[in-house]
C-alpha cells in the first residue's frame, strides 16, 4: 500500500521540518504520528518501514506508557528511548496530540537527536494545528450525501461477501 504521502499545503512543511531534522541528525528516518496511530508525515528513506503499522504500534506503546506513568505517579514520560544492537528509536511527545519517532543508527548521536527533536518540537506543534485547521476548512467542501453514497459503494465492492456464506459449518 502506498502510505502517508503528504499532499496538504502544510503537510509539505511537516515533511520539510522532518527532512531537516533527518539531515542534521543523520537519522535514517523521522515520522510524525497522531495519538490515534495515524502517520502525519515522514522523511528520510534510510529505513524501509511499514509506516502504517509502525504508527499504530507506537501510538499503542505511548498510551500504554502513559498508563504506566500514572500508576507510578507521573503524568507522562515525554521521551521514550529504545536502544537496539544496530538501530535505535527516539520517541518524543509533540504537544498533546502527536509524537515524533526518529530511527537512527549511531548511538553516539543520541545527544544530537535529543537536541534537534527538542528544537523542532514547537514548530511541529504549530504545523499540526495549522494543518488541522486547513483540513477542517477543506472538509467543509465535501458534499456529505455524495460522500456517503460513494463510500457505501466502495464498501460493497471491497468487503465482498463470498461463497463462505453458503459453506456448511
Amino acid at each position: 500500500m502506498n502510505e502517508s504521502v503528504v499532499t496538504g499545503s502544510n503537510g509539505a512543511s511537516i515533511n520539510e521540518t522532518l527532512a531537516r531534522l533527518v539531515e542534521k541528525t543523520e537519522a535514517l528516518t523521522a515520522l510524525l504520528i497522531s495519538r490515534h496511530g495515524i502517520c502525519l508525515g515522514q522523511a528520510g528513506g534510510g529505513a524501509r518501514l511499514n509506516a502504517t503499522a509502525l504508527a499504530a504500534l507506537v501510538a499503542g506503546m505511548f498510551s500504554a506508557t502513559k498508563e504506566v506513568a500514572n500508576i507510578v505517579g507521573e503524568e507522562q514520560f515525554s521521551i521514550l528511548l529504545q536502544q537496539g544492537k544496530k538501530r535505535h528509536i527516539h520517541i518524543s511527545l509533540i504537544g498533546e496530540k502527536s509524537m515524533m519517532v526518529i530511527v537512527f543508527e549511531e548511538y553516539s548521536r543520541i545527544g544530537r537527536v535529543r537536541l534537534e527533536a527538542k528544537k523542532c518540537s514547537s514548530t511541529l506543534v504549530r504545523l499540526v494545528n495549522q494543518d488541522r485547521k486547513d483540513q477542517e476548512q477543506a472538509i467543509q467542501d465535501i458534499s456529505i450525501p455524495d460522500f456517503k453514497e460513494y463510500a457505501l459503494n466502495l464498501i460493497d465492492r471491497i468487503f465482498v461477501i463470498g461463497e463462505e456464506e453458503d459453506a456448511s459449518p
Binding site: 499532499t7 490515534h36 466502495l154 471491497i158 459453506a167
Partner: protein
C-alpha cells in the same frame, strides 16, 4: 470524540472488534485480511502471547479509495478479551468510530458476554460516547456449536435498542464475517458528520 483524522487529506475510520476472551475476534480479523485483495490492505500486526491470546491488539489498515479528494481508510483493531487486560482495552477503544461486539454463542459464556458488553459501554462512556447512539454491531459467533445462546437473549438482558444490527457467524469458516464488516462499516459511514470535533 474525534471521528476522523483530517491530516493529509485522509479520512481514517477506526473499527474495533470487542468481546470476551476466546470469542473469535482475532479469527474475524484473520479471515477479513485473507479475503480482501492485496491492493486494498496493509500488513497485519498481531501482538499475542505464546498461546495466541491477544496481548495488546491486532491491527491492519484498509484503503477503500479516494472520495472527493480524500483518501478513505478503515483501520481494524481487536482488543484482548482476557479480563485482566482492562487497561489495554481502554487504550484501544479510544477514538473508535464503531464497534463489532463479538459474542461467544456458547451457553456457558453467557455471563462473560454480558460482563464484557457492560465493560465496553462503561469504557465508551468514559470517553464521552453515548453507546446508544454509537455504531455497534452485535455478532453472535460460533454458531456451529450444538447448543447456542438464542438470538435476542443478550439484547434483552442488556436492554439494547431494537434497531441494533445483529449477525450470526462462524468465524473459523468465515460465515457471516464479511457481512458483519459490511454492516459496521456502513453504520460508521452513515453516522459520519461534520461536527468539527476532530
Amino acid at each position: 470524540m474525534p471521528h476522523l483524522d483530517l491530516n493529509n487529506r485522509q479520512l481514517v475510520f477506526k473499527i474495533v472488534y470487542f468481546g470476551p476472551g476466546m470469542s473469535g475476534k482475532t479469527t474475524n480479523l484473520l479471515f477479513i485480511h485473507k479475503k480482501i485483495f492485496d491492493k486494498y490492505k496493509g500488513d497485519m500486526v498481531i501482538l499475542d502471547t505464546e498461546e495466541e491470546r491477544t496481548l495488546f491488539f491486532d491491527f491492519f489498515p484498509v484503503s477503500l479509495g479516494t472520495v472527493q479528494g480524500f483518501s478513505l481508510k478503515i483501520h481494524l483493531y481487536t482488543i484482548p478479551g482476557q479480563v485482566f487486560y482492562e487497561a489495554s482495552r481502554r487504550i484501544i477503544l479510544e477514538g473508535a468510530d464503531g464497534v463489532v461486539f463479538v459474542a461467544d454463542s456458547c451457553i456457558e459464556r453467557f455471563d462473560d458476554n454480558v460482563d464484557m458488553y457492560r465493560r465496553m459501554t462503561t469504557n465508551l462512556g468514559s470517553y464521552g460516547v453515548d453507546p446508544t447512539s454509537f455504531p455497534i454491531v452485535l455478532q453472535y459467533n460460533k454458531r456451529d456449536y450444538d447448543e447456542v445462546i438464542p438470538l435476542g437473549q443478550l439484547e434483552a438482558i442488556l436492554e439494547l435498542p431494537d434497531d441494533l444490527p445483529v449477525t450470526e457467524s462462524i468465524a473459523t469458516s468465515g460465515k457471516g464475517v464479511m457481512r458483519t464488516l459490511q454492516l459496521i462499516s456502513k453504520e460508521v459511514i452513515r453516522n459520519f458528520q461534520l461536527d468539527g470535533s476532530a
